[in-house]
Amino acid sequence: MSNSLLLSINELKTYFFTSEGIVKAVDEVCLGINKGEVLGLVGESGCGKSTLALSIIRLIRPPGKIVGGEIWFEGEDLLSKSEGEMRKIRGGEISMIFQNPMSSMNPLHTVGSQIAEAIELHQDAQKHELKAMVVDMLHAVGIPDPLRRMEDYPHEYSGGMCQRAMTAMALSCNPKLLIADEPTTNLDVTIQAQILELMKRLRRELGTSVLLIGHNLGVISELCDKVAVMYGGKLVEYSDLTTIFEEAKHPYTQALLESIPRLDIETERLRIIPGTVPRLINPPPGCRFYPRCEYAKSICSKEEPPLTEIGQGHSAACFLYTSKRRTKSPT
């Protein structure tokens, strides 16, 4: 796997300006994805993971706004691109699979014509080649009898098939980065297994970089090389897959891992994270996890812990691991 950086997010801030106050959905997040790498972005609902994904392809709508930071993709700053330039990138070099496949397809057009549209927009394909390309894509994602099924409308597809068709559409222009936002959340487990298998195969064959967003840690561990954990709009921990599961350092990651019932381990009682996921409107100063954290110290309520490297390629944002506070003095 090459180590060159494909996407780099630097101190990204995406805020929503609502009548109740400013929602800091993504707050100073730094993240990178290498070429050919699958990065898992884990977090509970409302932690800002989908907002982060939408920020990358600049699909944030008012009252939301990207208020700061940089997003570099292949050496170009995406935030300085015009809307026209972005439109070429979306669906071309960066494509996205959305959470609900049924509602992200147009019910008035056949599945085949929707995929053809995506190809037509981004590639110089002749009209007569289009059909063959669509059939190839549907075949690649395992839709049986693609020549006939491409004439079907989305409602004639099952949930799993719709998800496959969405994947086919997203991959039809050979994107360099695929963003998959909870691609299996609404599917049954046996169908989820089919989609996971498909994504693994596509990854082997095409070598696409993937940003996989999800809250199911099982799914994440099936596909990812690296894992980033978000909580309350902040990145709290980042490392490779094994380290996250075996040596998680941030109290939130640790608690999250122990609070889920597992098939392979017998537990009488689950670990509890007290309280609920915080609202992101005008968050208090300090660490966002501190009200629920069992190791909270007095400093945690006052200052925000910086994301610090605590091991080889392993960083966490927690005062338990930062001996010295971040100082402003230049070194």
Binding site: E44, S45, S158, G159, G160, M161, D188, V189, T190, I191, Q192, A193, Q194, L196, E197, K200, H215, N216, L217, G218, V219, I220, S221, E222, L223, L241, T242, F245, E246, A255, L256, L257, S259, I260, P261, R262, L263, D264, T267, R269, L270, R271, I272, I273, P274, T276, V277
Partner: protein, 322 residues
């Protein structure tokens, strides 16, 4: 094991599909199609299955919330389906349900105190100061505080709403609690709170649970015995550990292997089933799993396999296990 609290014998529920000008019945959805099981006093029976397999219909028919077409539901020896409305109302006090969606199962115009006192009023269980004392006790029992009593559902978080749902279910001092996907709409970090609460309540109050979910990991965590449903039928029933370590039905085997385990990395031995769950509309004869089954034999397409005991307390419906 102790006596069964609830026995379900060959229960069937078909929903008619009407069509044509005369709205004649043209087909039927076989939502629950001949299911038998029992729930013993003090145990948790888990029911798993994918969407549309009839789990929720089974729960509702068991509590007689919807009419059944055939079969028996015996609660402490009495057939519930033969009771009069008045008698049923009394029995219903002893059985309560926790619903999947705490957002839509609470009346937005009622305060927490109103919600919990409704079952107490309907059954005439307590009045005045006694009622208030009881409500406070229930509120505390599910981990909420008395100052929450005059708040409305929208003021609570998802986890707290589910706690209210549990308090309401406990108001009539039930013996049997039917929990239909009680945690699937909650955040991961809040799920553990509710699961632990359910376990504590079971221990303190000696409750019996029928726990329904599509999530095998939670079902295994909660249950003593687990039943697996597929398109309206129970295909396997066994003690929880046994079913996970030694699944006998090919569907159970595939279902368990399909679950990704956190931290284990990519699994290689996964059984990938072809196709998707068939519709329960006029299902074909034979085993309903046979079109997707990797071990399917000719007999599977013709005859419905019997639900037989292959080992102590381990039942399976599969032609291969005869």
């Amino acid at each position: 094991m102790s006596e069964p609290l609830l026995e379900v014998i060959d229960l069937k529920k078909h929903f008619p599909i009407r069509g044509g000008i005369l709205l004649r019945q043209v087909a039927a959805i076989h939502a629950v199609d001949g299911v038998s099981f029992d729930v013993k006093q003090g145990e948790t029976l888990g029911l798993v299955g994918e969407s549309g397999c009839g789990k929720t219909t089974l729960a509702r028919t068991t509590l007689r919330l919807i009419k059944t077409d055939a079969g028996e539901v015996r609660y402490m020896g009495r057939d519930l389906l033969k009771l009069s409305k008045k008698e049923m109302r009394k029995v219903r006090l002893e059985m309560a349900m926790i619903f999947q969606d705490p957002y839509s199962s609470l009346n937005p115009r009622m305060t927490l105190a109103d919600i919990i006192s409704e079952p107490i009023d309907i059954h005439g269980l307590a009045k005045g100061a006694e009622k208030k004392r009881r409500i406070i006790e229930l509120v505390k029992r599910v981990g909420l505080a008395p100052f929450h009593m005059y708040r409305y559902p929208h003021e609570f978080s998802g986890g707290q709403k589910q706690r209210i749902g549990i308090a309401r279910a406990l108001a009539g001092n039930p013996k049997l609690l039917v929990a239909d996907e009680p945690v699937s709409s909650l955040d991961v970090s809040v799920r553990a709170q509710i699961l632990n609460l359910l376990k504590d309540l079971q221990e303190e109050l000696g409750l019996t649970y029928l726990y329904i979910s599509h999530d095998l990991s939670t079902v295994k965590h909660m249950s003593d015995r687990v039943g697996v449903m597929y398109v309206g039928k129970l295909v396997e029933l066994a003690p929880a550990k046994e079913i996970y370590n030694n699944p006998q039905h090919p569907y159970t085997e595939a279902l368990i292997s399909a679950i990704p385990i956190p931290g284990r990395g990519a699994s290689e031995k996964r059984i990938i089933l072809k196709g998707s769950v068939p519709t329960p509309i006029d299902p074909p004869p034979g085993c309903r799993f046979n079109p997707r089954c990797p071990y399917s034999k000719p007999i599977c397409a013709k005859e419905d396999p019997e639900f037989i005991e292959v080992k102590d307390g381990h039942f399976v419906a599969c032609h291969l296990k005869k």
